[in-house]
């Protein structure tokens, strides 16, 4: 369904995507995981034909994105980040517009169907501007699905909505598995785990990990993060000291303190506290933090980044 080969995107002298390869098959939900600025959005924009790749090829349903852009666009349902809408259109009008623009045959029936599918039927006469964020998200999905595309690309579909709505959207995405190839991006690990069959992790424009959520979890297991607030010295001195501690992989200044990522699977807190006190610093605060994806990436990419 989606075949990406050696995809490169350069903006001027900045390379946003550095030669990535992946495939997505029908009936598969693939999560594109990565921190902000990793190249997720750029990749997706190239997949949808919004921008052409600098190098490499993308084939969607066998059509090349550059050569056969129109065929590709007809077969892709796309929901960009933060769901762009026309605030002064009605819900129905909005979906109808996209249906017509994408050449849907029986517009009325299809619009009715997707509105029903995303429980927007009773709000079809409402202006889009009065919809809540969660409803807008559903509207974005309805828009992306109205022309029954075999390939669905969703850019951060759960960003900026409240937890209950997140669940709704996740359910909706999960329901799309049937017959569609779904690629969706996120920077939240747990979300990807719940929804996807397969996860591709990218960072700095490169694929740094790929596999089922289970294998990734295993890879990521044994990482720990500790947040400490230390007093008694300059930030630079403290930071340098912390880096020298064995098993500490990464130190980053955050808020008033430091976020320490460790390699070992044992709790490093006692060791840390001892060493810091020995050095003559005072610990004001120390707590374990759930490993955030961003920091996981740092460990995954440790060897590749100088």
């Amino acid at each position: 369904m989606i075949e990406v080969e050696n995809l490169v995107k350069r903006y001027g002298n900045m390379t946003a995507v550095k030669g990535i390869n992946f495939r997505v098959e029908p009936g598969e939900i693939v999560g594109l995981l990565g921190p902000n600025g990793a190249g997720k959005t750029t990749t997706m924009r190239m997949l949808t034909g919004f921008m052409p790749p600098t190098e490499g090829t993308i084939q969607i349903c066998g059509f090349d994105v550059v050569e056969d852009s129109m065929s590709v666009r007809q077969r892709v349902g796309y929901m960009p980040e933060r769901v762009p809408v026309y605030p002064d259109m009605t819900v129905e009008g909005y979906v109808t517009f996209w249906a017509k623009l994408r050449g849907v045959r029986d517009v009325r029936a299809r619009v009715h169907a997707v509105l029903e599918q995303f429980q927007l039927l009773d709000r079809r006469k409402q202006l889009v501007r009065f919809l809540s964020k969660g409803l807008r998200q559903r509207l974005g999905l309805a828009q992306a699905l109205v022309h029954q595309p075999p390939v669905i690309i969703l850019d951060e579909p759960t960003i900026g909505i409240d937890p209950r709505q997140v669940i709704e959207v996740r359910d909706a995405v999960r329901s799309l598995r049937e017959g569609h190839a779904v690629l969706f991006s996120s920077h939240i690990l747990s979300e990807v785990e719940q929804v996807c069959d397969r996860v591709i992790i990218i960072n700095h424009g490169q694929i740094v990990g790929e596999g089922t959520p289970e294998t990734l979890s295993r890879q990521l297991a044994g990482r720990q993060q500790v947040f400490v607030v230390v007093e008694g010295g300059s930030d630079a001195r403290i930071s340098a000291f912390l880096r020298k501690i064995p098993d500490v992989v990464h130190v980053r200044a955050m808020d008033d303190g430091f976020l320490i990522t460790t390699k070992s699977d044992v709790d490093l807190r006692p060791t840390l506290s001892r060493l810091i006190t020995q050095e003559g610093f005072t610990i004001v605060e120390m707590r374990a933090v759930d490993a955030s994806l961003e920091d996981v990436f740092l460990t995954l990419t440790e060897t590749k980044q100088p």
């Binding site: 001027g12 002298n13 052409p52 550059v66 002064d88 409402q126 202006l127 009065f130």
Partner: protein, 555 residues
């Protein structure tokens, strides 16, 4: 960082190169289309384009290659290049169309369509061995006017197949060209037409001004006709009867009207009837008209014979005879010439001085043309509504008697008012400045002041005016206190008719079909104002409010 900034520079240079290539191509193509030859502008454009291409290729070779091999995706360079290319295509197309002069006249009066009369004249121009040129003086701030006028003039150029060309000059930038026209420019003439010399300069002796009026076709066509007729009409001023000096620019001279004739392309010359009579000669064959302006003595029989001979072969006379308190006054009631005019044209001069108490002139003896017989070629432009200066003004004018049963068609041109009379007691006027209406002795108004007659058989024509002073510079100069433009108009109209000049150069006035707004009462105006100012914008506001309420508030 160093390396990066250099790369950007290269890219920018490449972009600059592509822009230069586009600009060069535009310049070269435009210049080529404009002149349809390979001139320096074309060369310059090609060189700039070539340099641009070289720069582009040198600085960003991949982009350059990609642009021409076509596989390249959209890039700023190609976007700018294609835009310039499009601009060039549009420009070229514009220039081609501009040269084709395709005009469609939508005015109901066909104001931008040359009439058959003009087209006929332009066919004459086309056959003429010398081309004509329209010369317009426009300052930079008159560009808009120039474009409006040009819309007319280009019709002439197109219709004459280029026999008439246009030239526009900025009088400030090229004072040398403007210098010979300074007087006319000061009088608000700014367009001229004349023959072109073989060396490409304008033949100044043939140049005639184009009057500055709204009906431009008429002014231009008449001006062209005047140029074409230039030299073919010659009028003679009689200068032997103590007449007005046609060359004198004093108050009592008539140089202004003489110059007017010349400016219209009529050749003027002088003759003396006494010399002709003495030498046994006749009035020259090329005379289109003879002007006898304010003679101060009676003609001798020999002189009369010369005039008779001229009239009998179809000559044209313009006679302006003043009143003088002398015994041998020209055309006195009993003179042989007066009798001759009566028998030939049914017109004769009386010895009564017209007194018009209703005349708005400085005195009752200053007769301002009260009534003008319906518009004809002689009275055109006289007594215009709203412009009192277009009336004629005579001083101590003599009444003319018009035979109601004339031997040839004749008629009156200008009457005095009902309240006027012809004072027969001229001694009282001259000696005591006294004039009292005496119903028994005096002639009753209205009286003829100007009359005309034409013999259809011989084509002899006459215009007889009971005043001579009105021709003097004192009455025709704009600086004069008695200035009346009607005087010059009457004179020019008369000569135009007598010589047949105006028949050749006059453009039939066109009737315009549009009408002013009819006054329909203040109430109707109020209704219109209400509908347009309140109802219509108000309904738009109401719709805006309704939509706002329905869509944004109710939800």
């Amino acid at each position: 960082m160093q390396a990066r900034s250099i790369v950007i520079t290269r890219r920018h240079l490449g972009q600059l190169g592509s822009v230069l290539l586009g600009l060069g191509a535009v310049v070269a193509l435009t210049a080529f289309i404009w002149s349809l030859s390979f001139n320096e502008f074309v060369a310059a454009g090609l060189i700039i384009g070539g340099l641009g291409a070289a720069l582009w290729a040198a600085m960003t070779p991949q982009e350059f290659k990609a642009f021409f091999t076509g596989r390249q995706v959209q890039r700023s360079t190609s976007a700018i290049f294609t835009t310039l290319l499009l601009v060039a295509i549009v420009t070229v197309f514009y220039i081609i169309v501009q040269r084709a002069v395709i005009v469609s006249d939508l005015t109901i009066d066909r104001r931008f369509t040359l009439t058959e009369q003009t087209l006929e004249l332009l066919r004459v121009v086309e056959r003429s061995p010398r081309p004509l040129r329209i010369l317009g003086f426009y300052r930079p701030q008159d560009l808009l006017q120039r474009e409006i006028d040009d819309a007319y003039w280009q019709l002439y150029e197109a219709a004459s197949n280029g026999a008439i060309t246009r030239q526009y000059v900025d009088p400030i930038r090229e004072p040398g060209i403007a210098a010979p026209f300074s007087q006319a420019l000061a009088a608000n003439y700014y367009v001229f037409v004349g023959f072109v010399n073989p060396d490409g300069t304008l033949d100044l002796s043939t140049v005639t001004p184009v009057s500055n009026q709204a009906t431009q076709e008429r002014s231009m066509t008449e001006a062209i006709a005047r140029v074409l007729a230039g030299g073919s009409f010659k009028v003679y001023f009689e200068q032997g009867l103590q007449t007005l000096d046609a060359l004198s620019n004093s108050q009592q001279g008539m140089s202004i009207l003489n110059n007017n004739l010349r400016a219209n392309g009529i050749v003027t010359d002088a003759l003396r009837l006494s010399d002709l009579a003495q030498a046994g000669q006749t009035i020259p064959r090329d005379a289109s008209a003879l002007i006898i302006a304010r003679p101060q003595r009676e003609m001798t029989d020999a002189e009369l014979a010369v005039v008779r001979e001229y009239v009998e072969r179809g000559g044209a006379l313009f006679i302006a005879a003043d009143f003088f308190p002398t015994s041998d006054v020209f055309l006195n009631a009993s003179s042989p010439f007066n009798a001759y005019l009566w028998e030939t044209f049914g017109l004769r001069m009386t010895d009564a001085v017209v007194v018009d108490t209703r005349s708005p002139g400085p005195s009752a003896l200053h007769v301002v043309s009260a009534q003008v017989v319906t518009e004809n070629v002689l009275t055109a432009g006289l007594n215009q509504p709203n412009d009192p200066s277009t009336a004629t003004m005579f001083h101590m004018a003599r009444a003319i008697e018009v035979n109601p049963q004339p031997p040839v068609p004749n008629g009156t041109v200008i009457f005095s008012s009902e309240q006027s009379w012809g004072e027969t007691d001229t001694r009282a006027i001259v000696e005591r400045n006294e004039f009292i209406a005496d119903p028994d002795a005096d002639l009753r108004g209205p009286l003829s002041l100007v009359a005309f007659a034409e013999n259809p058989a011989t084509r002899a024509r006459i215009v007889l005016v009971g005043d001579g002073e009105f021709l003097t510079n004192g009455y025709t100069s704009a600086q004069s206190q008695f200035y009346a433009t009607g005087n010059a108009t009457l004179f020019m109209n008369s000569i135009g008719w007598l010589t047949g000049f105006s028949q050749q150069v006059t453009f039939a006035p066109r009737a315009f079909m549009t009408t002013p707004v009819l006054f329909s009462g203040g109430q109707q105006l109020d209704v219109i104002a209400f509908i347009t100012l309140f109802l219509m914008p108000g309904s738009m506001l109401a719709i805006a409010g309704f939509i706002y309420w329905r869509r944004y508030r109710a939800a």
